[in-house]
Assembly symmetry: C2
Homo-oligomer: 356 residues x 2
């Protein structure tokens, strides 16, 4: 069913709402696999540092990332902020799964149906908004995302980019939450059949899952192919490592090395560390695996590991969410564009796209 | 749809065929995930060694392992051998996925509907028939199966049994064909994003798959979740190792260590090697991964590895197929039963089951 966007019900509220003064706004969207968040932010004057807190006007959330949902969540954010589409200067949409220019163009064309021609549209991979949420909109440095999956993603100021890992479980995403938990489940089977050392992972994980024997893990694993369900066991692995379990400790150590290696590969390829390898660069760290654990802090260990090779690493744990990162990114693109207008045509900027 | 087995069309041929003399037969079935093979063998007098070739009367093949198929393939084998159900002394059915007594009982009850009460019925995991195909029906020793998946399975003469590995890819089945190929794909991604050394696996595998960039492997991998499709790349990995590629060599070496470890865990737990660790025991080796490769022979390396710990290992590559192994197993059960009749009731033997 093709929806008639311009005349659809989604935007009915616009007839009843006037634009408050001449306030222009930016929409920042973070579209994950399970939900979409849209924030609405006014165009504010450049300052360094940015105002704290940032002047976010409104925030809307939806449970899916379908296109109808994206449209609805943008309308909700505008309605809540007392604006309408004529106030929008830019939309920056960051979505997972944008890996090729074809993905991007499809979304840009669809956004173009909703917004007038003068609105600047930017479509990004979700890793880009995650980076921007730590650098306050600046595309420079590296972001390491370690949740169910993991990916390292880097940008230079002159527009080069590189990624490492992020290819999913089949292709050896060992540092991720899924990777950690799958190794823990494997360790239980190995201890059970005599291939590996005894570990308290066995009793602790079986108890959490309500299983009585390691044998039953086989059925449990194949009953539901969701990677997130397996990755949810990471806190148990961390707790076992904190309790002194050697096997759990080694699994986390392996994850640390894998995650650090992803970042180092990106830093190396982009030369983010300068010619002498000692230059400083921001490393934005995002995702459940990197959030402060108690005694065993995976994120801290990853930074320690990286700083042995690159002492200039500046770890950042973002204070704002990725949707705000997306809005800041849109704001930064606008700012850059106004400075660089002579270098690029307006049309080129209307389709600015960062490709992972 | 419940089929009326006793009066169904499947067995119509029995009205037109008489039993040839008083020749009694055994049916051996090997039910894999993609096909089922049934062979029909006469009861022959015990001899050591067995007659070579074995007196197989007929062989029938079907493309699935559904129950209707199993029934049809047994009827076909009997028809081809000029026998009918009244000539059957025993049926030994070996199927993948039989891991619990509930699996076994369901199949036994269903077989009992087809065959008269005096027919002995045996249901086994497919690993048991694979062992029997190497030991000519004797349940003693260890079988190592390494195809798409891998498993080590051992039996002692006094009826104890143990298994190792065989829990599938999520639970770290690294020695398997899937494990080898997934590691090779991972190595390509790692070389591409700077996390790992350059390898000729990249060009060789991409060429076979018709892909132009390692990036495209991500889409290729997730387009089809079949493990067998990935495992089919093993010969390319072997060819790269034979051409001197270090990365491919290390992947195969890792597979060798994993497979040897599975066998050693089983041998250790069952004490197959005797008290001094030097006793001899058969090791039956089955599956594509263990079949003679050219210069790089995974099966040979596995045996070398095991013999360092257990010098009494006697490697066997079966000369008969698993369905024949199943028939020999049925024959052996019958023989044992006639000697041991006073120890067990007939009913118990009618439901003899080997549990992995």
């Amino acid at each position: 069913m093709k929806k008639r966007y311009r005349n659809g019900e989604t935007w009915d509220f616009e007839h009843e709402i006037g634009v408050l003064g001449d306030r222009e706004v930016i929409l920042g969207l973070d579209g994950g696999t399970t939900s979409t968040i849209c924030i609405c932010m006014p165009i504010f004057p450049f300052s360094d540092p940015f105002p704290d807190p940032l002047p976010v006007l409104s925030r809307a959330v939806a449970e899916t990332a379908a296109r109808e949902t994206l449209e609805q969540v943008m309308a909700d954010a505008l309605l809540k902020s007392g604006s309408n589409r004529s106030a929008v200067r830019a939309v920056c949409l960051s979505v997972s799964g944008v890996n090729h220019s074809t993905d991007e163009l499809g979304i840009l064309n669809w956004l173009r149906e909703i917004f007038p021609t003068h609105v600047k549209l930017y479509v990004q991979n979700d890793a880009v908004a995650a980076l921007a949420s730590g650098t306050m909109g600046k595309l420079h440095g590296c972001v390491l995302i370690a949740g169910t999956g993991s990916i390292a993603f880097g940008f230079t100021e002159d527009g080069r980019q590189a990624r490492a890992a992020g290819a999913g479980p089949v292709l050896g995403d060992r540092g991720s939450g899924y990777g950690i938990a799958a190794q823990a489940l494997t360790a239980i089977i190995r201890a059970y059949d005599g291939r590996g050392p005894v570990t308290i992972l066995s009793s602790n994980i079986l108890q959490i899952l309500g299983l009585s024997s390691p044998d039953e893990l086989i059925g449990w694993t194949y009953a539901d192919p969701s990677w997130a369900r397996i990755a949810a066991l990471v806190p148990v692995v961390v707790a076992c490592a904190e309790a002194g379990d050697r096997v759990a400790h080694e699994i986390l150590q392996d994850s640390v090395e894998e995650l650090a290696l992803s970042v180092k590969a990106v830093v190396q390829r982009l030369g983010l560390c300068g010619e002498d390898g000692k230059g400083s660069f921001p490393l934005v760290m995002v995702g459940g695996v990197l959030e402060a654990n108690n005694k065993w802090d995976i994120g801290k260990e990853v930074v320690n590991h990286i700083s042995k090779s690159y002492p200039g690493v500046l770890p950042i744990r973002p204070k704002v969410e990725p949707a705000v990162g997306a809005a800041l990114l849109g704001w930064n693109f606008l700012l850059k564009e106004s400075h660089m207008e002579p270098c690029k045509t307006s049309e080129e900027w209307n389709c600015t796209v960062a490709r992972p």
